[in-house]
Assembly symmetry: C2
Homo-oligomer: 305 residues x 2
C-alpha cells in the first residue's frame, strides 16, 4: 500500500502552471494579479450526506471541484487555485486515480491549479478550498439587489434533486453527479448583475439569502422558472424550488440590462430565464402560480435539520 | 436544534478585520498586500486519527488553527486569513461554542480572520485552510539547505508524543493539545534561514523532506537535540526522533548567521538549538550518538502506514 507521501506524489502533484510553488512544501506560494481582489471559498463533501456510498470516484473528483467553482461563478470571480483535503477509508489506488482524473480534468478546463492539500485515512471526506480573482469593486455580492431589478436563473432547476429520487435518467444523473459550474457566465455578469448566488440548497432558500442580504422582497412566477422535465407536478415543485445541487446561478440585474443579458445567453449558449422581479418592502419571496395566486413553497436543504 | 445557518451566524461570524468581505456570501473577498506573495496551506484533522474521541473542543479549536499557523511559520509567512470546513456528529451548542472559542482566541493572537467555511453533519472532521503573506523571494522553502549550513531546532522535541503515551503530565499534554505555532520565529527567520520545515510528523522524517528537496545530506548529534524530559531512553528516542505533533521549526542557516540566530532566540525567548550540519553527497540523515557513532532511527508518522 502506498504511503501518504507516495499518494500525493503519484496522484496529486501535477505541475502548477500559475503558482510560484505548488504541492510539496509547507505551503503553496501564489502571486495574485496586482490590484485584483482574492475570492476564497471552502466546501466539505461527506459520504452519506453529499453523496452515496459507492459513488463513482471520477464524478466525485469532478463534483468536489465543481461546487467550489460554482461559488467563484456566483462571485463573478475567475478561479485560479485550489487545495484539497482528502480523508480516505483506504489507500485504494484505482479509486484515487479515478478521483484525481475527475478533479484534474475539470481543473484543466478552467485553468485551475491544485497547489496543496492534505491526505489522511478516515471516513471519506473531501474538503476543497478554491481561490479566485476578481477586479476590485466588480465582485457579485448577495447584497446588491434593488427594487425593480429583474431576477434571472441560468440553465434548468430541479434535475439534480430529481436524480436523487432515482428518476430522470442519464440527463438528471449528470446534473447531480457532474454539475457544470457557470464560471464564464459569472465572469461575464461583472458590471451587469446587481447580485448573484449559486443554487446549491434550493432556489427558494438561495434566493432568500439574496433578499435577506439586500433587504428586499421578490415576486417570482413559478411558470417562468426554467425546469428540468419532471412528470409529477408536486415532485416537480419540490425539486425545482427546494432541490439542492443545481449549481445554476440566480442573479438580479436592472431592467436596462435585459438586452445585454439576452445577448450573453446567446453567446455563451446558456439559457437565461427572467423569472420575476425584486420588490421593496418586506424581505419575502412571493411565488405566484399561473393564475397569479400565491403558492406555498418548501424550504431548502439544511444540513442539521 | 439550531440550523446550519444559525450555527454559522451564532458561532462563526465574528467580524473580519482584514477582509473586504467575511463570512456570509458565496466567497470571502480579500485584498492581499501589493507585491506580497500568498502562502496557502490546508490541514485535515479527524477524530480517532489526529485526536481522540472526547477531546476537549476548546483545545481542538486551538489545535486545528495552530497546525496551519505552523505551516505559515515554516514558510516565513505572516498568517492573515483562514477558512474552516467542519463536519459535526450533532449540533451540540456547548461543543461548538467551546471549539469556536479556542479557534478565535488563537486567531486573535495572530491577527488572523476567519473569513469563510462550511458546516455539515458527519463524522467529526476539521479542515482548515490558512492564507498568509510573505514578501517576494523571502519565503522559507524546504529546498534551500546547502552543505556547510547549520541545522537548528526550536523549543523541545518529543513532548507531544510523550503525552500520547499518557506520560509527561500537564506540560506534555499542552504540547500535544495546544501547541504553540512559531509564527514570529518564522517571520524573523526571513533572509536568515536557508530552509525550514515544521516538525509535524517527527524530526527525522521532516528533516528528511528538507534533505530530499535540497539534495543534501545531514549529520545530527542526538545529544544536541532539545528534548522534552522523558525518563525511558528508548521511549525518549522514539518520541524525539519520530514523534509527531511537535510543531517546532527545524531550519538550516549559514554558519555566518549563528550570532544573529542566538540574538533572535534571546529576543523571542524561544530556545534555538544548533544540532548538526548539512553535508554534500548522499541525501541521508546520519544521526550520531554521544560517542559519535551512527544510530539507527525510527521513521516518522505516515497516515496510511
Amino acid at each position: 500500500m502506498p504511503s501518504e507521501f507516495e499518494i500525493i506524489r503519484r496522484y496529486f502533484s501535477r505541475p502548477a502552471r500559475n503558482a510560484l510553488l505548488g504541492v510539496g512544501d509547507d505551503a503553496a506560494l501564489l502571486q495574485p494579479e496586482a490590484g485584483a481582489v482574492l475570492a476564497v471559498s471552502t466546501d466539505l463533501l461527506l459520504e452519506g450526506r453529499h453523496f452515496a456510498r459507492g459513488a463513482q470516484p471520477r464524478s466525485l473528483g469532478h463534483k468536489a471541484l465543481a461546487v467550489n467553482l460554482s461559488d467563484m461563478a456566483a462571485m463573478g470571480a475567475t478561479p485560479r487555485w485550489a487545495t484539497l483535503g482528502l480523508a480516505l477509508p483506504a489507500a485504494d489506488e484505482d479509486w484515487i486515480a479515478a478521483f484525481a482524473e475527475g478533479f484534474y480534468a475539470l481543473a484543466a478546463r478552467f485553468g485551475v491549479d491544485l497547489v496543496g492539500g492534505d491526505t489522511t485515512r478516515g471516513p471519506l471526506c473531501i474538503c476543497v478550498t478554491i481561490l479566485g480573482e476578481v477586479p476590485a469593486n466588480l465582485a457579485l455580492l448577495r447584497g446588491g439587489a434593488r427594487p425593480g431589478d429583474d431576477i434571472w436563473v441560468s440553465g434548468e432547476l430541479g434535475g439534480a434533486a430529481y436524480a436523487l429520487h432515482g428518476a430522470g435518467g442519464a440527463a438528471a444523473a449528470r446534473r447531480l453527479h457532474e454539475p457544470e459550474p457557470r464560471v464564464e457566465l459569472g465572469e461575464r455578469l461583472r458590471g451587469i448583475a446587481s447580485a448573484a448566488i449559486d443554487v446549491s440548497d434550493g432556489f427558494a432558500q438561495d434566493l432568500g439569502h439574496v433578499l435577506e442580504r439586500s433587504g428586499v422582497g421578490a415576486v417570482v412566477h413559478y411558470a417562468l422558472l426554467p425546469k428540468f422535465a419532471i412528470d409529477d407536478p408536486a415532485l416537480e415543485q419540490r425539486c425545482v424550488l427546494a432541490g439542492g445541487d443545481d449549481y445554476e446561478l440566480a442573479f438580479t440585474a436592472p431592467q436596462a440590462a435585459r438586452a445585454e443579458i439576452e445577448a450573453l445567453s446567446g453567446s455563451l449558449r446558456i439559457a437565461l430565464a427572467r423569472v420575476g422581479s425584486i420588490q421593496g418592502g418586506e424581505t419575502k419571496l412571493q411565488l405566484l402560480d399561473v393564475k397569479g395566486k400565491p403558492m406555498a413553497h418548501a424550504a431548502g436543504f439544511d444540513h442539521f435539520a
